[in-house]
């Protein structure tokens, strides 16, 4: 086994408390980041689900033939920003209204003529659901003479877009702040661990160890602490996720890319913090 790895493991044997402090510091501070990531991810998922429901309803003038409507449906369907077009006939509209609005059932069934218009329900491709994209499709739909009105909840779409921007901004800012605090806590813990061994560093210099030789076991230690701390943070976050899902509300679990990213960042950060802490002591002797 290379000396650096042997020494890193020996350090754990000699001073388990110091190593545990770093690992606990890493895992608790990354756990906070993990909880935040879980929240941010679920807000994002929820907003995306709402966004998916953004659709344009084009109401057709009285007397529009089914053929005309079907032709328009076929033309629209091939446009790149449109995901799906569905033709809803007058009869279907009435049936849906009766089903969805039971309190008006009496009113609807008493009618001699069907007052509801036929319509085309247009759903958009992901990425084309912003205010401008929706508006441009709506304008296009209105060029058909038999389209009376294109309804897409203008304010609603604008509000979702604004909400998404706020959420993204908050994720970046609060997440960045949590990340920075975690970074400082981890760096401090690592510095304490290295400081406790400054005598060892001094003696190593004294007997002719090169800087690289002195640094390596600390780097291995930092890497292992970061790695273990990262995995423990994920485990704690998972427990929190399970708990909330079982008691409060169903939460989505974090994507695999985020999780592996967190482990890599944790390990890299442990490595970096160790390197910086050791450098201070190497410079002193």
């Amino acid at each position: 086994m290379p000396h650096a790895i042997r020494e890193a493991l020996a350090a754990f044997r000699r001073a388990p408390v110091l190593v545990l402090i770093s690992v606990v510091a890493v895992s608790l501070s990354l756990f906070v980041v993990g909880l935040f990531a879980l929240t941010a991810h679920n807000i994002q998922t929820a907003l995306r689900a709402i966004e998916e429901r953004v659709e344009i309803v084009a109401y057709l003038r009285e007397g529009t033939s089914v053929e005309q409507a079907r032709a328009a449906e076929a033309e629209l369907r091939v446009l790149p920003d449109i995901l799906e077009v569905r033709y809803v006939s007058k009869t279907e509209a009435l049936a849906a209204a009766v089903q969805e609005l039971p309190e008006f059932r009496e009113v609807f069934s008493g009618l001699d003529v069907n007052p509801l218009p036929a319509s085309l329900e247009i759903r958009l491709q992901p990425g084309y659901r912003g205010s401008e994209a929706v508006e441009s499709v709506a304008r296009q739909v209105l060029t058909y003479p038999f389209v009376e009105e294109a309804d897409y909840g203008r304010d609603w779409v604008a509000r979702i877009v604004a909400l998404q921007r706020v959420a993204a901004g908050a994720t970046l800012m609060i997440g960045g702040a949590f990340g920075a605090v975690a970074g400082i806590i981890i760096a401090t813990a690592v510095r304490i661990a290295v400081f406790a061994r400054r005598e060892e560093i001094e003696i190593m210099r004294l007997v002719g160890a090169t800087d690289g030789f002195i640094r390596r076991p600390f780097l291995v230690e930092g890497l292992l602490a970061g790695l273990t701390g990262g995995l423990m943070a994920i485990f704690l976050t998972y427990l929190a996720h399970q708990f909330v899902s079982a008691t409060l509300l169903e939460l989505a679990w974090l994507p695999a890319a985020w999780l592996s990213g967190a482990v890599v960042v944790g390990a890299a950060y442990g490595l970096l913090a160790s390197a910086l802490a050791v450098r201070r002591h190497l410079r002193a002797v």
């Binding site: 000396h3 005598e199 060892e200 003696i203 007997v207 002719g208 090169t210 002195i214 002797v285």
Partner: protein, 229 residues
């Protein structure tokens, strides 16, 4: 072996620690460096270890000059010199054996080669039976012997000792000094800083360099120093 030429060292807050020191210690020589505390003994030893640079002048040890020193040279230099301190500086969480092996590990020696070498060193300093003892289970004299074994581990050319008997009683101190004499008898250069004039007086025939206020005020080998310097 060791040559200081017009070396001064001053510190921003405390001023001169040593001033205009010329000193030449030859191969296989044994020299005492004496003087009161604060006279500059430890500063000279630190300069020789190149733990700090001189403010002016040049320190030259075994071909390495302070004027052209790169950071990468320091480990090479330290392996050519063994250093022993008043406070032993052992790692308290390792056995006597591990403390000595430590000095060999840092040079990248093979583990198989380290074990017999450590055993020989322990025998040389008279601690063969104490290999597994932790430093706080050892007496002061025994700790200093471990430190000396560690200093000798890499077959250095010179042994520097900063008040090695300062924390020891008379008997333990004598034992340590005798060990130094044996080591010097095998051809190693020894430079020993001490304020123990009694020790110096009891061993006439060795070179004595006396410092006061950061300057050399007496050198029993002054004539020969001038010849080379």
């Amino acid at each position: 072996m060791i040559k200081l030429t017009s070396v001064s060292r001053d510190y921003p807050r405390t001023g001169y620690a040593i001033r205009n020191v010329d000193l030449h210690v030859k191969k296989a020589e044994f020299a005492f460096l004496t003087g009161h505390s604060g006279a500059g003994k430890s500063t000279i030893l630190r300069l020789i270890q190149m733990a700090e640079p001189p403010t002016s002048g040049e320190v030259r040890v075994s071909g390495i000059s302070s004027a052209r020193l790169r950071r990468g040279d320091i480990p090479k230099l330290r392996r050519k010199m063994g250093v022993v301190f008043q406070d032993f500086r052992l790692l308290s969480d390792r056995t006597a054996e591990e403390n000595i092996a430590f000095a060999l590990e840092v040079t990248g020696a093979r583990p198989a080669a380290i074990r017999p070498r450590v055993a020989r060193l322990l025998a040389q300093v008279g601690l063969a039976a104490r290999a597994q003892a932790m430093p706080d289970e050892l007496s002061g004299g025994e700790r200093q012997r471990v430190a000396i074994a560690r200093a000798l581990a890499n077959d250095p050319l010179v042994l520097l000792a900063d008040e090695p008997t300062g924390n020891l009683d008379e008997w333990a101190g004598k034992g340590i000094f005798d060990l130094f004499r044996d080591i010097n008898g095998n051809g190693m250069t020894v430079l020993m800083a001490t304020h123990d004039l009694e020790l110096v007086r009891k061993h006439p025939g060795y070179r004595v360099i006396e410092l006061a206020g950061g300057e050399i005020v007496f050198d029993s080998a002054a004539a020969s120093t001038e010849e080379v310097g």
